[in-house]
């Protein structure tokens, strides 16, 4: 086991991975788009503004074309270094050169404004067009495959260079007497593999282990108390807030109990 490495603003990598799960972006007066809540720390002077802020009118005109996801994204602006991470998923950066790549919207963490973000015609996916760098997360390392291939919808991260995506339904399980019985009654269950995305044509398909997420555990969540910022009942907009903090049950000793480690 190697000793932990201590980073400071000078030794942090610039636009590169710190480790498999963290990516460091260096801002030099420029902007980056990032998905809400994916920044874990930063050095320097960086401002985070929601999209729809008046100052970014021009920026949005050139590189953000997704009203559906407008509320999920923020613009980071300033100079310094910021660290991005997502649920201990593997994080990687990819360079696009005058190309296009379509990615599951939940997997995209951040991108340079030199890229243009558009909604894919496949629901739940976003397309990046242009030249620049973007950061994406995946459950386990990303595996690159060449078409022709059929992919479980949950395992698909994205695809590049226009292989043609389409649905493939496996109706083999409906044939025969047993299959007919099964499709009529549902007895015997389904294999869960009747539906895939099929890719043909030239390009690359990106796969991950699965899209099924680990249960999110609220580590270091703010306690639900009046006067604590982010605490208190009802925090609309912050999706996961208050999931982990269990309500205090009657009969518990409260803070005393926690202090004694019971």
């Amino acid at each position: 086991m190697s000793a932990p490495v201590i980073f400071d603003p000078m030794t942090l990598p610039s636009d590169d991975n710190v480790n498999a799960y963290t990516f460091c972006v260096e801002l030099k007066g420029g902007e980056w788009f990032l998905q809400k809540g994916k920044m874990i720390a930063y050095y320097g002077r960086i401002e985070f503004n929601g999209i729809g802020h008046g100052r970014f009118e021009r920026l949005l005109r050139t590189s953000f074309h997704s009203p559906l996801h407008a509320s999920d994204w923020v613009v980071a602006q300033g100079s310094g270094k910021m660290l991005l991470a997502d649920r201990a998923f593997d994080v990687n950066s990819y360079d696009l050169e005058d190309g296009n790549l379509t990615i599951r919207s939940g997997n995209l963490l951040a991108y340079q404004p030199t890229l243009a973000l558009k909604q894919s015609i496949v629901p739940g996916f976003l397309t990046l067009i242009g030249t620049g760098k973007f950061v994406a997360a995946s459950n386990g390392p990303v595996v690159f495959m060449e078409p022709p291939i059929r992919v479980d919808p949950q395992a698909l991260v994205g695809w590049a260079d226009c292989p043609s995506p389409c649905h493939h339904y496996d109706h083999g399980y409906m044939t025969g007497v047993l299959g007919g019985l099964r499709s009529l009654t549902g007895l015997g269950g389904t294999s869960g593999e009747e539906h895939q995305f099929e890719f043909v044509g030239a390009g690359t398909v990106l796969l991950q282990s699965t899209e099924m997420l680990m249960a999110e555990q609220a580590t270091g969540a703010v306690p639900h108390e009046p006067g604590v910022p982010g605490g208190g009942a009802g925090v609309p907009g912050s999706g996961h807030a208050g999931q982990g903090a269990a309500p205090r049950l009657p009969g518990q000793l409260g803070d005393l109990q926690r202090r004694f480690g019971l």
Partner: protein
């Protein structure tokens, strides 16, 4: 060895005509070629009797038969995958940890009480295995899922291995296991070390331990 590890969470399997493979339902990530996935009502091999046996033993996981000609990628739930090769010996594993295995392997169910009587049943309760566990026997490979990375700990004569029951994944070989307890008055007043129960494995073989105390 039909399974090739692509990364820690994905394995690739080559399917050739005439050779069956079993896998957990919904564990297919992608495939090439002509491969068919058929839901398997019996939950594995054997006829009606072994199916009933598995149902009673609560070791019936939804399995599917994978047949055809091509390559298939398997992975499930973002769990880590360990490929275990069997050369004639028996693997003891919980059925819901099975990701995929060769059709050449013989699947069976074992009563925990048959190893150490009542204590075996207690052991099953503590490890979360229940009263029954699944056995796979023969020559072939098994892909087993675990939460967190897996390490293989060899067991030899005079080298007994103690495992946290919650971190136990599977074991194979000629292994006797028993539950050792280190209960003291501290555990009674709720100030125990949390390591009161341990699984003690002796004999010759190997045990697989996951780097997490979370069950699947």
């Amino acid at each position: 060895m039909p399974f090739r590890e692509i990364n820690s969470k994905m394995v690739e399997a080559v399917v050739v005509p005439g050779q069956k493979m079993f896998s957990q339902r919904g564990a297919m990530l992608a495939y090439r070629g002509e491969v068919s996935f058929t839901p398997n009502m019996q939950g594995g091999q054997g006829g009606l009797m072994s199916m009933i046996g598995r149902r009673v033993a609560n070791e019936a996981t939804p399995l599917m038969t994978v047949e055809g000609n091509g390559t298939v990628l398997f992975g499930h739930g973002g769990h880590h995958i360990q490929v275990i090769g069997l050369a004639g010996d028996t693997l003891y594993v919980e059925a819901d940890r099975l990701l995929a295995f060769d059709g050449t392997l013989q699947q069976g169910t074992m009563f925990m009480g048959s190893q150490g009587g009542v204590m075996g049943m207690v052991r099953g309760q503590v490890t979360g295995q229940g009263l029954f566990t699944t056995t796979l026997k023969g020559h072939g490979a098994v892909a087993v899922m675990a939460h967190g990375g897996v390490i293989e700990v060899p067991i030899g004569p005079g080298r007994d291995v103690h495992v946290d029951p919650q971190a136990y994944v599977a074991h194979h070989g000629d292994v006797r296991n028993k539950l050792s307890t280190a209960l003291g008055w501290r555990d009674m007043v709720g100030r125990g070390s949390g390591e009161a129960f341990q699984l003690e494995l002796s004999g010759s073989g190997a045990v697989y331990v996951q780097a997490s105390e979370e069950k699947l």
